[in-house]
């Protein structure tokens, strides 16, 4: 019995971390149709911000939940002003530019901090179910994932800001006619997306190896999830993250980690073949 609970927790862990790692990308991609290939490096910057500030004596929770998103949000602001704003509506160019940007960020971080970095220990600790051990951090991640979901939904659905953002997303020209400044909306969307990605980076920092190239391990799955989720920012990402996260973890448990990965990618191929618009293109049409 206990083992099923543990596996359920693993699945929960897989889903919530995947959701958190994708949300920032989904915001940027869903709202602005900019493909940010430097997404993995934003995660890495978040992790570095957390680790460096925590090792400098900042409380680990503050480092994770405040320093990381703030720092990456600021980086996002600079990047949007200097680079991304020239690329709206130029999909292929934006891919090339952000790919170059990702290499640049890796290079800068390697130059400053070298190829490895001391990590931070995982806070909280473990608890046992029967004779099995699991980590409170898993539950914490799930809590944050739910919190972020509620927050994004609340802002988008019930605030004026969200209304403007949704209007710009649907029809920028019309929104501009009605007095909204799309440039400013895009800018703040990019910054929010970057900050959310930074938060995800901060949250994975205590449970992953910190290297300048660590983003590479996340970026493929993040894109797959966002594309598999389709146009609806929240419901799409959530459903795709649940699907892929669960397939990966259950697959890895019952077979081997190698097949766990293979299964995820196979699922993604089949999904895109059957639902070319992603999950939300079929099931949650018009939702957030």
């Amino acid at each position: 019995m206990a083992i099923y609970l543990i596996v359920a927790l693993d699945v929960l862990n897989g889903i919530s971390s995947l959701f958190l790692l994708c949300l920032g990308l989904a915001i940027i991609f869903g709202m602005m149709k900019i493909i940010n290939l430097a997404h993995g490096e934003f995660i890495m910057l978040g992790a570095y911000a957390t680790v460096i500030s925590a090792n400098a004596g900042v409380n680990i929770w503050i480092a994770m939940l405040i320093v990381a998103p703030l720092f990456v949000g600021l980086v996002g602001l600079v990047i949007e002003r200097c680079l991304i704003r020239f690329l709206y509506g130029r999909l292929v160019d934006s891919m090339l530019a952000t790919w170059g940007l990702s290499l640049l960020i890796i290079g800068i971080i390697t130059t400053i901090y070298g190829n490895t970095q001391q990590g931070v220990p995982t806070p909280l600790g473990g608890f046992s179910i029967g004779s099995y051990q699991s980590s409170y951090y898993t539950l914490f991640l799930a809590g944050i994932a739910i919190g972020m979901m509620v927050l994004v939904y609340g802002v988008m659905r019930y605030t004026r800001l969200g209304l403007i953002a949704r209007a710009t997303m649907q029809n920028p020209a019309m929104a501009a006619t009605l007095g909204v400044n799309p440039t400013r909306v895009y800018m703040s969307t990019f910054v929010v997306g970057a900050a959310v990605t930074g938060l995800a980076g901060g949250l994975v920092a205590p449970v992953s190896g910190i290297t300048p190239g660590m983003g590479g391990a996340y970026v493929a799955k993040a894109f797959m999830t966002v594309v598999g989720g389709g146009a609806a920012m929240l419901s799409g990402t959530m459903s795709a993250a649940s699907l892929f996260g669960a397939v990966n973890q259950v697959g890895a448990y019952f077979t081997t980690p190698v097949y766990g990965e293979v299964l995820v990618f196979t699922t993604a191929i089949v999904l895109i073949r059957l639902l070319p618009q992603g999950i939300s293109g079929r099931f949650f049409k018009g939702n957030l």
Partner: protein, 412 residues
């Protein structure tokens, strides 16, 4: 004269080229009459493997500087031509050609992963350039033009597994990286576990980009092993040790590893995450012999920010020194004469102790050490002197087949 954009670009391009070319021009003029002996170096100084490659470059440079300070070899100074291979196999192939054809080097030290070694070894065979591979690996390379100075599984895994089993128990669970090193090392682990009367409950392989080890940790708990043997590789895989500790498993099941701590895992992980992990290598920075201390001191003095000085750096230094001994004995830089001299039982007392080249395998007989992580440092528990490369010796005999150039996959 109008100052146009085009003119500005042309001038700055010219100035940049001059600046970049200047050191090369000055340096090539500086040596004067005595033509230097050229040592090629292929090591990764950027990309994922850079933390391994950087100290190796330092060690090679140290060896060459020391030889030059002692008057060089055969009255000629040594010169290193180094290329940063950027953790990219394509760069290895390209620069290997360049070293052999354009730079016409007399010997090459380099290669880190087994994949990179196999990319450059045929090139050096073809162009008849003597090649030293100074890294621990899975064993089995049998090539008269190549000398492998690092440890092989018979020298380290063979010591690690029984001592870990003695401490922990007979049931082992193997986790390893999913490429040739991990796959072959897992086979060796299985063999030694069985040889010592134990049992392997399960073997799991992980692609290098796996970051979530939650299910593995659950599976390990369900299997209830006495011991975990790890050959996980790379930054992403260090996540395993973190997640293991955060699940509260640390200390409940001991871990022994053939890869942990080769780069600088003990310093990047928290003490709580790395304490009491067992490892076995041909060298540890913490070895307290005078030779080892002065070696580490020299590297750290020249490069205060150097990553951990591991077996990789020590073997590179010893490899370069062994080659120098060979050249001295041959009294020539001719490739065949140097190979014959190196086969005549050359030995060198390096940071890890006495290292001698084995004629039939072109591997080394060297000391091996068993250590445990304590407070983010290795503490050496035991040392084994003059361990032979028995694995490669069981398949390779260059005395009988001098034209062999294969890497044997050792059947277990």
């Amino acid at each position: 004269m109008p100052f146009s954009r085009r003119r500005f670009l042309r001038h700055s391009a010219l100035a940049t080229t001059t600046l970049i070319a200047a050191p090369a021009v000055f340096r090539s003029g500086a040596f004067g009459a005595e033509k230097p002996i050229v040592v090629g170096s292929l090591h990764d100084q950027s990309g994922p493997i850079a933390a391994s490659g950087t100290p190796m470059v330092y060690a090679l440079q140290l060896a060459v500087d020391e030889i030059n300070a002692g008057g060089g070899l055969l009255g000629r100074p040594l010169k290193v031509i180094h290329y940063d291979t950027q953790s990219n196999i394509q760069m290895y192939s390209q620069f290997a050609q360049q070293l052999a054809v354009k730079d016409k080097v007399d010997v090459v030290h380099g290669g880190i992963t087994s994949a990179s070694r196999e990319a450059v070894r045929p090139t050096f065979d073809r162009f008849k350039v003597l090649y030293f591979y100074n890294v621990l690996y899975e064993g089995g390379v049998c090539d008269r033009n190549t000398f492998c100075t690092g440890t092989t599984p018979a020298q380290t895994v063979e010591k690690l597994v029984p001592s870990a089993m003695k401490k922990a128990g007979k049931k082992a669970y193997i986790i390893a990286a999913d490429y040739n090193y991990g796959q072959i090392t897992a086979k060796w682990m299985t063999k030694y576990v069985k040889d010592n009367g134990g049992e392997v409950l399960s073997t799991d392989f992980f692609p290098l980009d796996v970051t979530n080890f939650g299910t593995t940790i659950s599976k390990i708990q369900a299997a209830k092993p006495d011991l975990i043997l790890s050959a996980l590789v790379g930054g992403n895989h260090t996540a395993f040790y973190r997640q293991w500790t955060s699940a509260g498993m640390k200390g409940k099941i001991p871990i022994a590893s053939t890869t942990f701590g080769l780069v600088n895992e003990p310093t990047t992980l928290d003490a709580a995450e790395s304490d009491s992990i067992l490892g076995a290598y041909g060298y540890f920075e913490e070895l307290a012999t005078p030779a080892s201390k002065s070696f580490v001191e020299k590297i750290k003095k020249a490069h205060p920010d150097s990553p951990y000085v591991s077996e990789l750096a020590a073997c590179t230094y010893e490899g370069a020194m062994l080659w120098a001994e060979g050249v001295k004995k041959a009294a020539s830089i001719d490739r065949m004469k140097v190979i014959e001299a190196l086969e005549s039982g050359i030995a060198f007392d390096g940071p890890s102790g006495k290292v001698s080249l084995d004629k039939p395998t072109h591997h080394t007989t060297r000391n091996a050490f068993l250590a445990e992580v304590k407070d983010r440092k290795w503490s050496v528990l035991e040392s084994y002197s003059d361990v032979k490369p028995a694995d490669t010796a069981s398949v390779c005999d260059l005395v009988k087949n001098p034209t062999d150039t294969k890497q044997y996959i050792i059947n277990l």
